[in-house]
């Protein structure tokens, strides 16, 4: 049975085969990024509403590009110029957008759970582009795709997540995904940013440990996911930028403690010279640019899977189930 998705709100509820399906379905879209002509007509006539209540340039451009390459139109709501500033409630804003009849809503919001709340009130699919400190599902998927392409698989890897894990939705999505494939996860950062509760922040049974010692965290790592340091938050663990760099910057010398061939990921934007040294950021183990390209593929796959259809159930196909489309009466032959 082909997995079916109504919304993409979080990776936590998805099983390993659904996650594998999403990664596999992203591969054809990776290839399209290499074509001279990258525009398909697959979603022609469909529109994707983008409601970013929290600032984002990269994710918004990535979703916009993904929609455009599938031939869909976009409707853009940006927080700074939005009616929210005038006191309109989230639900009113979203219902107003919905009344313009988009085919789906891509939403980023500062409050954890906001996309879930909105999905319960709308009949169209909702894609979570990042909600508070909860999840960033497409980021988790593109990270896993990048790791899988570089390492061959995402099974049973030692994954180290470095930085402000406590406030990171990217970390949580990655933990929920990779934890279902037997990965052993090490969280590392100043104590205040890797609280004990995080040991239970992955799937049940997942191995998650914490350490405040970077060298220990890097020993034997196959994957190092470096999180951006928000310098405005450095007062929480009460570290100066220099102290953070001294204790937690991923540089080439420290990276050598990881396994040979270990890959370095960063959700971006990077603070060069703070959480990551320029040498590592630009080095052969860094996957940051592949992550960006894979982000478009993953978002194209997500849009295709959620709104590729007509919205109604496809007619039951008569004939062999392995490729129902080929043997149904309406198959394009």
């Amino acid at each position: 049975m082909t997995p079916r998705f109504r919304d993409l709100l979080a990776l936590e509820p998805l099983g390993a085969d659904e996650l594998t399906f999403l990664l596999d379905q992203s591969k054809p879209f990776q290839e399209i990024q290499k074509h001279p002509l990258k525009k398909l007509a697959t979603l022609r006539g469909k529109s994707v509403a983008l409601a970013f209540f929290e600032n984002s340039t990269r994710t918004r451009i990535s979703f916009t590009t993904a929609a455009a390459r599938l031939g869909a139109d976009t409707m853009n709501l940006q927080a700074e110029s939005s009616s929210l500033k005038k006191g309109e409630s989230l639900l009113d804003t979203v219902h107003t957008l919905d009344a313009m009849k988009p085919d789906c809503l891509v939403m980023r919001h500062a409050a954890s759970g906001a996309p879930d709340f909105v999905a319960r009130h709308l009949s169209i699919p909702v894609i979570n582009a990042g909600d508070g400190t909860h999840e960033h599902p497409t980021q988790g998927l593109l990270d896993a795709l990048t790791i899988r392409d570089r390492r061959g698989s995402i099974d049973n890897l030692n994954v180290t997540i470095l930085g402000d894990v406590a406030h990171s939705r990217v970390a949580r999505s990655n933990m929920h995904l990779l934890g279902k494939f037997g990965c052993r996860i090490t969280l590392c950062g100043p104590a205040m940013w890797v609280p004990k509760e995080l040991e239970k922040a992955g799937p049940p049974g997942a191995t998650i440990r914490r350490t405040t010692c970077l060298n220990e965290a890097l020993e034997g790592a196959d994957v190092v996911l470096v999180l951006r340091v928000q310098t405005e938050r450095l007062h929480e663990p009460a570290l100066s930028a220099e102290e953070y760099i001294l204790l937690y910057q991923l540089n080439a010398e420290r990276l050598r403690r990881a396994r040979p061939g270990a890959v370095v990921l960063h959700p971006g934007p990077m603070n060069r010279g703070i959480e990551i040294s320029p040498e590592v950021a630009d080095g052969p183990q860094s996957c940051v640019l592949e992550q960006v390209t894979n982000g478009i593929a993953v978002r194209m796959a997500t849009l295709f899977l959620l709104i590729g259809g007509g919205g109604e159930e496809a007619p039951q196909a008569a004939g062999p189930a392995e490729q129902p489309a080929r043997s149904s009466t309406h198959a394009a032959d």
């Binding site: 054809p28 259809g309 129902p324 149904s328 394009a332 032959d333």
Partner: protein, 182 residues
């Protein structure tokens, strides 16, 4: 609604002989095989293209590259099949520009698959020529599209379905005609 098998059109041996003959025809009618390439349309066009290419190697050692094309994203009936659609990757290990391409598929029916395949090919570049090779042509075209290389032409009614079974995909090998009853 039931499916009833009405008869076998081709046995395994007949399929093999037909592919051999098609390989010879394509080489004969290509005036040079330097820029020739086969493109198998997923799914069953792919093993057919590979077998034809292998048969061509037996003819003066002609070595023709084979690409695979998944047309799901180019279909015109996506809204009907999308919840069931499983995308597969296309793989074209050669540039399409200035190439003499032969699309390969198992059954030619309405022609919509070929229309979609051509859209896919032209997204990749500008081929010099595109021709079509099919194992079975069952008529009922809805597009102005014809095959240049045909294994077998079969008269069918709209309720009938041609089932092609290939050992690479189905673990059996034959072509049957089935009918929907009731």
């Amino acid at each position: 609604m039931e499916i009833k098998e009405k008869g076998q059109l081709m046995s395994a041996a007949e399929i093999d002989r037909t592919l051999q003959r098609l390989a010879h025809e394509i080489v004969e009618k290509s005036g040079g095989t330097k820029e020739l390439a086969l493109v198998g349309i997923r799914r069953r066009g792919v093993p057919l293209a590979e077998r034809i290419a292998k048969a061509m190697r037996g003819i003066d050692g002609v070595d023709v590259p084979v690409g695979t094309l998944d047309i799901t994203l180019y279909r015109d009936d996506l809204s009907k099949i999308a919840p069931h659609a499983v995308l597969a990757s296309s793989n074209m290990p050669f540039g399409v520009d200035e190439m003499d391409l032969v699309l390969v598929d198992d059954v030619l029916y309405t022609g919509r698959t070929i229309r979609a395949a051509m859209n896919g090919l032209f997204d990749l570049g500008r081929p010099k020529r595109v021709r079509l090779c099919v194992l079975i042509d069952r008529g009922h075209r809805e597009m102005p599209i014809e095959a240049q290389f045909i294994g077998r032409s079969v008269q069918t009614s709209p309720t009938e379905i041609i089932e092609v079974r290939l050992r690479e995909v189905d673990s059996q090998e034959r072509v049957m005609i089935v009918d929907r009853v009731g």
